[in-house]
Amino acid sequence: MKPFAYVRATTLEEAADAYAAHPGSRYLAGGTNLVDLMKLGIEAPGALIDISRLPMEEIGELPGGGLRVGANVRNSDLAADPRVRERYPLLSQALLSGASGQLRNVATTGGNLLQRTRCGYFQDLSKPCNKREPGSGCGAREGIHRDHAVLGHSEQCIATQPSDMAVALAALDAEVELYGGGGTTRTVAVTEFHRLPGDHPEQDTVIRPGEIITAVVLPAAAPGAVSLYRKARERTSYAFALASVAVLLDLDDGRVRRVALAFGGLAHRPWRATTAEARLTGAAPQPDTVRAAVEAELAQARPLRDNAYKVPLARNLACQAIAALAHSAGPVP
C-alpha cells in the first residue's frame, strides 16, 4: 500500500505551492479517472492536492457573448446549462454522450480534458506501454487494437484520447486557461492542448508540471451557425467512441461561410479536420463536395491491421452531420 499525502487547497496559490512541496503530486478534482488509475497502480502520486473546492464552479458571460466555464463545473451541469444548450448544442450533446449520469455528476470540465486513454495495454501493468513506461514498447500495435488510432499515431503509441467533450471544444475553438503558480497564467487553444504521441507518448497534453486548468473559454457563437455532435459506439450509452464527429456550420446564402469539423476516437487528440474545412469554405455543401473534402482529410489515415473500419465510419459520420446541418440551415443552391 502506497501512502500518499492529501492536501485540501483553498486557493490556487495554495494548490500550486502544495504541488511544488510534494514530489509526484497530482491534482484531484472529480477523481473519476485518477482514482481508477490509482487503483490499477498506473498512477501512484505522492500527494493528492484536492482542488475540487476551489471557486471555479461558475459559468460566466464574457463580453461579446462567449462563456467562461470554470474548471470545476461538473459535466452534467455544463451539459444542462441553458446558455450552453442554446449557443453550443454540440457541446451539450458531446457531454451527454460520454460516461454515465453518475460519472457526469462528479467529473469536472478540467478533469475531462485531462482524462487518459483507455487503451487496455496502458491500463495493464503487466504489459508494455510506452505511454505508461517510456521505452517499454507498445503492446497494442501487434495486439488487440480495434479501438485505436488511425490518424497521427507514432511507432511509440497508437492510443486515442477518449474525451467526447474535448472534440466539441476543439470544433468550437475553445481555449484552456492555465494557472502556473506565482500568479502566472497562460491560455492554450484546445486544439493545441492535447499532443500527438510522437516520441513522447507519456505526455498527453502540453500542460506543464504544476499547472492547473482554471477555465475553458468558449468564443461567442456566430449568429445563424448550427452545430452537431454525433458518436458511433458499440452500445447505446456508456461506451467510448469508435469514432465521433463535432461539426459547426455557418452558411451564407447556401455557401459555407465557416465550418469547423473535429473527429474523436481517431487520434491521440481531437482531430481538427483543417484540410476538409479549407476545401469546404466558400463551397456549397453538396454531398459530393462534402464527401471529397472529408476524404481528402482522411487520406492521411494510416489504419492498423484491425481498425480500417474507422476511416469509412468517420467519413460517413462527417458527411451525414454536415448534410443534416446544411439541411437545417436552409436550402443548398
Binding site: 500500500m1 495493464d124 504489459k127 495486439g143 488487440i144 459506439r233 458499440e234 447505446t236 461506451a239 469509412p312
Partner: protein
Amino acid sequence: MSPTSTTLDTTTSVLGAPVPRREGREKVTGAARYAAEQHLPRRAHAWPVPATVARGRVTAVDTAAALALPGVLGVLTPYDAPRLGPSDDPTLQLLQDLRVPHRGWYVALAIADTLEQARAAADAVRVTYEAEPHDVTLREGHPGLYTPEQANGGYPAHREQGDPDAAFAAAPVRVDVVYSVPPLHNHAMEPHAATADWDAGSGHLTVYDSCQGTTVVRSVLAGLFELPEDRITVLSEHVGGGFGSKGTPRPHVVLAVMATRHCGRPVTLALPRQHMAAVVGHRAPTLHHVRLGARPDGTLTSLTHEVTTHTSQIREFVEQAAVPARVMYAAPDNRTTHRVTALDVPTPSWMRAPGETPGMYALESAMDELADALGMDPVELRVRNDAATEPDSGRPFSSRHLVECLRDGARRFGWPGRRPPRHEGPLLIGAGVAAATYPVYIAPAGARAHARPDGSYLVEVNATDIGTGARTVLSQIAADALGVPLDSVSVAIGNSSLPAGPVAGGSTGTASWGWAVHDACSALTDRLAGHHGPLPAAGLSASADTTQSAKQKSPYARHAFGAHFAEVQADTVTGEVRVRRLLGVFAAGHILNPRTARSQLVGGMVMGLGMALTEHSALDPAFGDFAERDLAAYHVPANADVPAIEAHWIDEHDKHLNPMGSKGIGEIGIVGTAAAIGNAVCQATGRRFRELPLTPDRVLAALEGEPTTAAGAAG
C-alpha cells in the same frame, strides 16, 4: 398491487401467483449481506497474484519485499503453500506446482490485515518464469483438434443417423454455412468472493461463499483440505448472480480457505473484476459448420452440425453446441459432432445455457438461410419441420409446444412474414425469428418441513437464490403443499447444514428443490392430519429425499421450447445495430411465479441481446489473455440498449415432470435470441452476418459492400 399485499387467497392456488420476492427490500436497502460483507472480528484480506506469462514455469518467487510491508500476514507460493487433497477439478489445485497453464493463473497469494495492504503485498511479489511459446488461437484445421468422448452435460460428442452426406448431396435445396461465436464472459454483478473462517480450537471451517450451491462447495473443500464434511459449513444467503460461473467452486474460495488456515483469522478474498476473465471460466469460442438439405416444400432431409471449440491445457470442457440439433427438427439423415483442441487459454466453463446458446445461434441462423433459399416464411419452415418425437432418441416428448410459441409470438409481434424491410432515413429496419429450446434436468434434493405450535411453518432446503427468486418460489410450493397461507411459511436456504440440494444451475433449481419441498410438506400434512390436539412444544417435522424419484429415467424427452421475434434497425451511416423490439413466447411447463419468471426470461433475452450485438472477449495472440478485463471494455447491454422486451408463455400442463409441473426457466430466455436478432439484421440489410457480435465495424464493412442475399435486396 402494493408491495406489502402479498397475502393471497389460498382458495386459489398460491402456485402461479405473482408473489414479490421475499428478500427484495433487504436488497434494495443494502441490508442484504453478501460473501465479502461478512465483517467478522479480526478479519484479514487476501489478494492473489496472477501469472504474467501465457505458458511456462515459475522459476522463483521472491516474497521478501512483500513480507516487509506493513500488515502483511504471509505470502503463499507454489513452493510453500499447503498441499491439497484430491479434487475432480484441476483448476482448484492452486499453488501446487510450478506450471503456468495460462496467463492469469494464480502463482501466489498475499494475506494482510487490510485489503489495501494485501493488494500492495501482491503487487510486491516478484515472480520469475521460464516462458514457453504459447498458442491461444482457435481455428479450423488446428493440429490439436480431436473428437472427445463426451461434451459438457455428459452428451456423446458424436451422433450420426443415416447417411447425412449423401442425403445432403441429393437435396434439391442446400445451405452450407459457417458461423463463429467469440469467447464470452458471465460477469455477474457480484464478483466471486468468499469469507473463510477456520476455528483451530473447534476444528470447524465456516465459509461465506458467493456460489450457486453450498453443498458442492462443502464437498469439494472437504476433499481439498481433508476435513470431514460435518466440520465445514458453507453459507450463501445472497448471491449477486452467477450465470454458471459460480456453479462449482472457483479458485477464490480455495485460496480464502488456504489463507484462513495459514493465518488463523477470518479472511475475505474478493476477486477484482480485472482477474475474472482468466480464472472463473468463460463460454468457449465455437466455430459451427452447419449443412441443411431440404425438399422444395421445406422438409429437411439432411442436417449436420459440426462444432469446433477450445479447452484449456488443464481440464477438458467441451461446449455441447451441436446437442440442440438433436432435439429441434426431424431430419432422417443427420450428424452432430464436436471437436476440441487444448490451447494455452483459461479453462472454459458454464455460461447460461452452455451448448444451447451458441448452438441455437448457428442452427437457427442456418434455418433462416434455408428459408431464404426456399423463399419461405421462416416461421412456416420451422412449423413444417416440427418433430413428433425427439429426433436423436426417438422418444416421445412429454410436451412440445414449439409451433404454438411460433404462432402465438407471430400474432403478438405482428410478424411481417416475408414482406420487404423498411427504411427510415439512413436506418434499415427488419424483423427476424428464431426458436429456443432447453432441456429439463432434475437432480436429487432433500428437504425438511416443520410445523410450530404457533401455526407457523419452517421449510429447510439447501437451495441457493442467485437472484432468481428461488426463496420466494419455494415458499409458494411449500404453502401450496401444506395448504396454508404464504405468510405462515418461512424458508431457510443457502446453508450446507440444511438438507442437501443441488446447485442453482442447468435450470434445475426450482424443479429439484421444489420437488423435495413438496414431498416434505406433503408428508408433514399427513402427519398433521393424523395428529390430534395441540402440537407439542417442539412442533412436528417431516423430511423428504427425492433421490429415487429424481433419478428415475423418464420414458419421455423433456424440453422447454420457445420462439423469439426481434425488430432491429441498422444505421447505414455507422453500422450501429439497435434492437427496437424483442418478444419471446415460451412453453416451459407450469409457470409458478409470473413476476420472477418474467424477470428471468427477460434477463435471458437481454443477455442474448448482448451476445448478438455488444459482448465479445478477444484472446490476445501476443500476450495470451483476454483483452476485455472490465465492464468498460466488456460491453453488457446498458439500459438504453434494452427496448420494450416482452416475455409471454403458454401454460403447459405436463404430468411427466415433477409435482409442480414446471420446467426450468433460467436459461431458455437466452437461447435463440442472438439468432432472431441476426436474422432481423439480415432481413433489414440484405447482408448475412455469420460472426458475432454484430458490432459497427463488421456491419459497416458489409453495408459498404454488395448485398449477400436475395431476400433483403428487395429493400
